[in-house]
Symmetry: C2
Subunit: 255 residues, 2 copies
């Protein structure tokens, strides 16, 4: 079972869109796929038609009672091979409540381990902050995916964030493989082209060969609650994510 | 002195861009303006050329020692009438460290009160989460600005967030005036047009008349570290923010 965490402290860079697109493609290939929503704002949960307000037992329940069965938390989606562990609002309080307690960094890793026979791939969508949820995602994943918008504000702090993430992993005596995915690329904007050049120079070995373009069909897909690869498989956005999935499944092909 | 907080739990909706654009316009009008960066990721700080990594005394110092003088924290920018209280990385730990302590919701309000003679307007840029920083911003501000991207994922949770924000204010026996600002509007995308129609129907009295369009010049401005109204005053983006500033300065013209 592979577990991919999709994380970036910068907001709005395409974390949820990347999670949904990869999960959609994997489910089409027949892979039993689980999506986990660790963002208290619940974009991923809302994308698939659930209301984070109304979710009684969501991922937060795992932080309150480690023995709550995953089977009571995991929800179906209308798509074959695609299930969801929804977020709940209370997740916004987890840092204040459990932040200082021992062992709260392994809650998600333990819970996902208990379902390793049921799923081939698990994708964890992270909130835009470095907190308890992110630490849990890093501990639970086998590979980290960092979407980075190709523009100046999104490049700020990338270096620092990568350092912080690798520091968290070092404390666990592990090195975590990560891939940086350039998103919302717009070849007509100088700032976008120069940002890509910066990423190619600074992160050559970690940068995905997949370049996700600006594609307005992502907005339509999220309105319809359908992953873009299922709604418009030949769209520019979907084709770009196919390259990423190919790389992730066959690491040798990377840049 | 007016204090405006710019907040939304959803990431990437244009909080920092709104803060910078309004601050730029106010400084051009001769208003002594302070920008406060409450986001540990430090986009606002980086926008004006400071490295959040290297900031020794940033806004976090106020949470550690309430008596630290603001004069030792406030930094100049290269623009007249525009100063910055920078973020620092340690701000990411404030929820875990002080979240449960009494009275930590008024740290920023107290600090801004101490400089009320020096500034005409203060703008607080918030992180994409509902935590201690946001509670401080709500307590310190006289008006709340909520940028909302005109697309489905950004509309999700808006209702809930507005309810949460007004609940936090009620606990202080106050009603907080707020304005919703539609951002990144793209009239060519059905999803964008329908999102705007939804906002007009649901939030009529709170919705700004200013409709911020998608404008690639924002990316160039952030790369140059210059507020768009100073770099390209006749751009679509800058003109739209002028309407917003006009409304905020003369509330009678709204909605
Ligand atoms: N390649 C793309 N082209 C155009 N729009 C995109 C693209 N990727 C994402 N978007 C849009 O950009 C917005 C932000 O994307 P998304 O919500 O996935 O980011 P995020 O990083 O998950 O945000 P948050 O920090 O709030 O979790 C959404 O409206 C989404 O539809
Ligand atoms: N009207 C607009 N048109 C085009 N691009 C925009 C517009 N407003 C903001 N942007 C761009 O969108 C990106 C996100 O904006 P910004 O960083 O201001 O959002 P934010 O809400 O502050 O994000 P965070 O949640 O990380 O704090 C930036 O690259 C910015 O340049
Ligand atoms: Mg998201
Ligand atoms: Mg911001």
């Amino acid at each position: 079972m592979k577990v991919w965490a999709i994380a970036n402290q910068k907001g709005g860079v395409g974390k949820t869109t990347t999670t949904v697109s990869i999960a959609g493609l994997l489910s089409l290939k027949g892979s039993k796929t689980l999506m986990v929503d660790l963002d208290p704002h619940g974009s991923l949960t809302a994308y698939f038609g659930y209301n984070p307000d109304k979710v009684e037992l969501g991922v937060y329940a795992l932080f309150q009672d480690k023995n709550v069965p995953m089977s009571s938390l995991i929800q179906p989606t209308e798509f074959d091979n695609l299930a969801l562990l929804p977020s709940s609002l209370a997740l916004a309080t987890v840092d204040r409540q459990v932040g200082a307690q021992e062992g709260m960094g392994l809650v998600i890793a333990r819970a996902l381990n208990s379902v390793r026979e049921e799923f081939d791939h698990i994708l964890i969508d992270c909130p835009p902050m470095l907190g308890v949820a992110m630490v849990n995602a890093l501990a639970a994943c086998t590979h980290l995916i960092i979407p980075v918008q190709t523009e100046f504000l999104a490049l700020q702090g990338l270096e620092r964030m990568v350092r912080t993430l690798t520091m968290i992993m070092k404390a666990r005596n592990e090195t975590l493989p990560y891939t940086i995915v350039p998103t919302m690329f717009d070849k007509r904007t100088k700032a976008s082209v120069q940002s890509l050049e910066f990423l190619q120079a600074q992160y050559r070995s970690r940068l995905s060969g997949a370049l996700i373009p600006v594609d307005t069909q992502f907005r339509d897909a999220s309105r319809a609650g359908v992953p873009l690869p299922l709604k418009a498989p030949r769209s520019r956005g979907s084709t770009a994510y196919e390259i990423l999935v190919e790389e992730l499944l066959n690491p040798v092909t990377m840049g």
